[in-house]
């Protein structure tokens, strides 16, 4: 069983992984701060959060980059560096893999539409309805 104390230590570790002020901290250092061996830390983190600490760190950085692209005017290179990537090529590849578009195209598509970054339940349902005519017809038939 995961004790509450360990849950909190793993949450603190999660916070460190996404803190841009602590990008230099290695997974091993974060494990030490959580009073766990690196092996045990990675295993418990994955059991709790569904991904390894490094996977979580990468995903968090890409999410932050996404918001910076849509809400600001910094260059893609500057955003890449700001969120802790050292290679623009790697950043662009990972970004496209996660969000389906290169950073530049993503910015073009969502510029001025920050609300699309955070759809709510009914917004998602409404958009799904509009995009999927088969879904719409099946809903009509069931009414």
């Amino acid at each position: 069983m995961l004790t509450y104390d360990r849950l909190i230590r793993l949450c603190d570790a999660r916070d460190k992984l996404r803190d841009l002020q602590q990008v230099e901290l290695s997974v091993a250092e974060i494990a030490t701060a959580a009073a766990m061996s690196r092996f045990h830390f990675i295993r418990q983190f994955r059991a709790l959060f569904g991904e390894t600490p490094q996977q979580y760190r990468t995903r968090s950085r890409l999410e932050m980059a996404k918001h910076m692209l849509v809400n600001g005017e910094d260059s893609i290179t500057d955003i890449c560096m700001a969120v802790g990537f050292s290679s623009l090529g790697s950043f662009s590849t990972l970004f496209a893999r996660r969000f389906g578009q290169a950073p530049s195209k993503y910015r073009q598509r969502l510029a001025g539409s920050a609300e699309q970054l955070a759809p709510d339940c009914m917004g998602l349902l409404r958009a799904a309805w509009e995009r999927d005519s088969q879904f719409s017809r099946s809903q009509d038939a069931s009414d």
């Binding site: 949450c11 059991a47 959060f49 569904g50 955070a118 709510d120 995009r131």
Partner: protein
Amino acid sequence: MRIRLNSIFVDDQQKALDFYTSILGFEKREDIPVGEFRWLTFASPEGGDAELSLEPNVNPAAKAYQEALFEQGIPITAFEVDDMDLEFQRLSALGVAFTTNPTDAGPVIMAVFADTCGNLIQIYQTSHE
């Protein structure tokens, strides 16, 4: 008025899809792409009309709410099971992290685990007299 749709936040919809189907055993009902997100709902194969929507927690308020509950050890929702011992053993064997092992809580036996998507989930079995 009927309760047909419930909704919880998840930090990643693909992770959630994997966990809620492969681990918990729910069936996917809707999976409609909406930009980078999805309209994603699930239902129990054991019957009932209710569906569960798993929403992305990208709204800062949603993320803050979800994380606050998580860090206080509070489950975001609860699912009923017929056999707690069986379910606990099955989920434990699949590597699910429990924060509360099966516990007699009066009218129910309850347990709590992490859904790997930022939530704690309670499962409960109604105690039989």
